[in-house]
């Protein structure tokens, strides 16, 4: 349990003169929830994109599950079990909710060079997709086009998709962004039981959520790691209070 599943070693990304991430170094222990917090513009989303492979890093290394994945493209990292969700909902808008989850399952079942049989009638895709929709509370909307879903439901669907790929690690970029109180609670209750099976790097605005869920927390400020520590340590750290928590 104690070995790190993800190691980030002096990861840097510059946009022009701005160093959006500047020598990030931290590691995430297997089976834990690791919070990533920091003020707006601190570089959290940039870090997630570098870890998922969507942004090419300028320097630094990423090790995932014992392998150096620094040069791996997004899809290869995803197939090796490193999945991400997006701060701004990112779905397949013309498909139904069930289609979206089925696409995630299909990706996990190996290559899709099958040209003949109707994928929408494939029970090996559809039955597990239904189960996962049920788990996130969307069974009633299985056949709804994604565009017809409310914002909160779309966020739940996004989680359903990443769960459907049976990931070993999730990079969650503000999964509760724009959700109401009860929806956020529901999302928390969905994430909590995954702990142990799935490692999570959780970017979240709501401090209560982070302190309630996370085992460890890394604080980012201006693209740099201010501190990594247990929630209590973070709460009481004078510099964190000054730099970020402010009036918390």
């Amino acid at each position: 349990m104690a070995d790190p599943i993800l190691e980030v070693i002096s990861l840097t990304k510059c946009f022009g003169a701005i160093a959006a991430s500047d020598g990030l170094t931290f590691s995430v222990k297997r089976g834990t929830i690791h919070g990533l917090i920091g003020p707006n513009g601190a570089g959290k989303s940039t870090a997630i994109a570098q870890l998922s492979g969507e942004l090419q890093s300028d320097t630094g290394r990423v090790r995932f599950d014992g392998q150096d994945v620094t040069r791996w493209p997004v899809d290869k990292r995803a197939r090796s079990g490193l999945q991400r969700s997006y701060q701004i909902t990112s779905l397949l808008p013309e498909f139904t909710a069930e289609d979206n989850v089925a696409m995630a399952i299909q990706s996990q079942q190996g290559h899709s060079f099958r040209f003949w049989d109707n994928a929408r009638k494939d029970h090996s895709l559809r039955i597990p997709a239904r189960k996962i929709l049920e788990r996130v509370g969307l069974s009633d909307f299985a056949d709804s086009p994604v565009m017809d879903l409310a914002h909160g439901q779309q966020r739940q669907l996004e989680l359903a998709m990443v769960l459907a790929t049976a990931p070993s690690m999730l990079l969650l970029d503000e999964p509760m962004a724009g959700m109401g109180q009860s929806e956020s609670l529901r999302m928390m209750e969905l994430l909590r039981p995954l702990k142990g099976d799935v490692t999570m790097l959780l970017v979240e605005h709501d401090m209560d959520v982070v302190f309630a869920l996370a085992d460890m927390i890394t604080v980012l400020v201006k693209g740099q790691v201010l501190i990594t520590g247990a929630p209590d340590e973070i709460k009481n750290h004078p510099e964190v209070r000054r730099a970020y928590l402010g009036d918390y």
């Binding site: 998922s52 969507e54 493209p73 997004v74 899809d75 290869k76 995803a78 197939r79 999945q83 991400r84 997006y86 990112s90 779905l91 397949l92 808008p93 013309e94 498909f95 289609d99 089925a102 696409m103 995630a104 299909q106 990706s107 996990q108 899709s112 060079f113 099958r114 040209f115 003949w116 049989d117 109707n118 994928a119 929408r120 494939d122 998709m161 790929t165």
Partner: protein, 338 residues
């Protein structure tokens, strides 16, 4: 039955009726032409079917894969040239240029047409492998550039007619069938088109097709789910090129001539107009688009040589008010269902 296979058993009643009427018309064209004593109608109808075939092939990657290929004329043209060149050598009794050995070509359709598909497929593999590394406007420009390159290449080869193209002195041969007979030729085109529609309708609903459609909707998400999207798009691009090559082989037989003009960007544009006019992402739409554009050409060109002037505003209207093109107008709401 066959109709269900193409449009899907779960299609709405309206879809079924429209498709049935469509099929009925397609199968009775030669009869009607006889009835009205206008035999050239069969000729025009064959041309519509051939262009429908290439429009469907473009729809596969444009309407389902979101790949705005502006160089589809290249695949159509190469398919036509394969037939033209093989017939040319067979007729003259000379060896095919650029090939080792002394093969003197052939007029057998069963060799010519698959070769047309293979060569167009290979061309699509090369063009696709390079251009699919880009997206958006760059992709449009690169596919366009490749097609223009091929256009100028064909112009520069005097062996195969250069700018003047090649006359085809013998149509392809199929055992027990005479392709010089307008009706036989028409039904050959019709059967190939229906076969292609059937295969494509299976493909777009298959696992592969779902990946393709996912890429059009949100490629970033598909990658994040673990799909190596480049490979899927490339395979679709090659399939599309092969179908276009087959259409080219038919077109060469139809016009009994091949020239570089087929590869010119205006030709590629016309194919794209057919797809947009008929309705992207519907397979049946491009058939309607081909019929509409070619008939308009036929009728309007009789009135005025500036018939293109009418086309522009019409396309704008279609794009603005009928997202699913003519097919959407006919089918109504159901046309939106994936």
């Amino acid at each position: 039955m066959f109709l269900n296979k193409i449009i899907g058993a779960e299609a709405s009643l309206r879809t079924k009726i429209v498709s049935l009427v469509g099929l009925l018309i397609l199968f009775t064209v030669p009869l009607l032409a006889n009835l009205f004593d206008e035999p050239f109608l069969v000729d025009i109808a064959s041309r519509i079917l051939i262009y429908a075939l290439v429009a469907v092939s473009l729809d596969l990657i444009l309407g389902y894969g979101g790949m705005v290929s502006f160089g589809h004329g290249a695949f159509l043209g190469l398919g036509a040239y394969v037939v033209g060149i093989l017939t040319h050598h067979s007729y003259e009794g000379t060896a095919v240029a650029f090939l080792p050995g002394e093969w003197q070509g052939t007029t057998q359709a069963f060799i010519q047409w698959p070769l047309a598909m293979i060569f167009s497929g290979l061309l699509a593999l090369i063009i696709g492998a390079l251009s699919l590394r880009t997206t958006g406007v760059y992709f449009i420009m690169i596919t366009l550039a490749f097609a223009q390159m091929l256009y100028f290449f064909m112009i520069s080869i005097p062996t195969y007619g250069g700018e003047d193209g090649l006359n085809i002195w013998e149509r392809s041969e199929i055992p027990l069938l005479d392709l010089y007979d307008a009706k036989s030729f028409y039904f050959t085109c019709l059967i190939l088109l229906l076969l292609c529609l059937w295969c494509c309708s299976r493909i777009v609903k298959s696992r592969f097709g779902m990946v393709l459609r996912g890429c059009r909707q949100n490629e970033v998400r598909m990658k994040a789910l673990g799909y190596p999207v480049y490979r899927y798009k490339l395979i679709a691009f090659v399939l599309s090129g092969m179908i276009a090559g087959l259409a080219g082989a038919l077109l060469a037989n139809h016009t009994e001539f091949v020239g570089p003009g087929l590869m010119h960007w205006t030709g590629s544009g016309e194919i794209m107009i057919m797809v947009i006019l008929g309705g992207m992402g519907s397979l049946i739409g491009p058939v309607l688009g081909s019929a509409a554009l070619l008939m308009m050409e036929e009728v309007l060109a009789g009135w005025t040589e500036h018939w293109m002037i009418f086309l522009g505003p019409m396309l704008v209207l279609i794009v603005l008010f009928a997202r699913k093109g003519l097919y959407g107008l006919l089918i109504g709401k159901g046309a939106d269902n994936g």
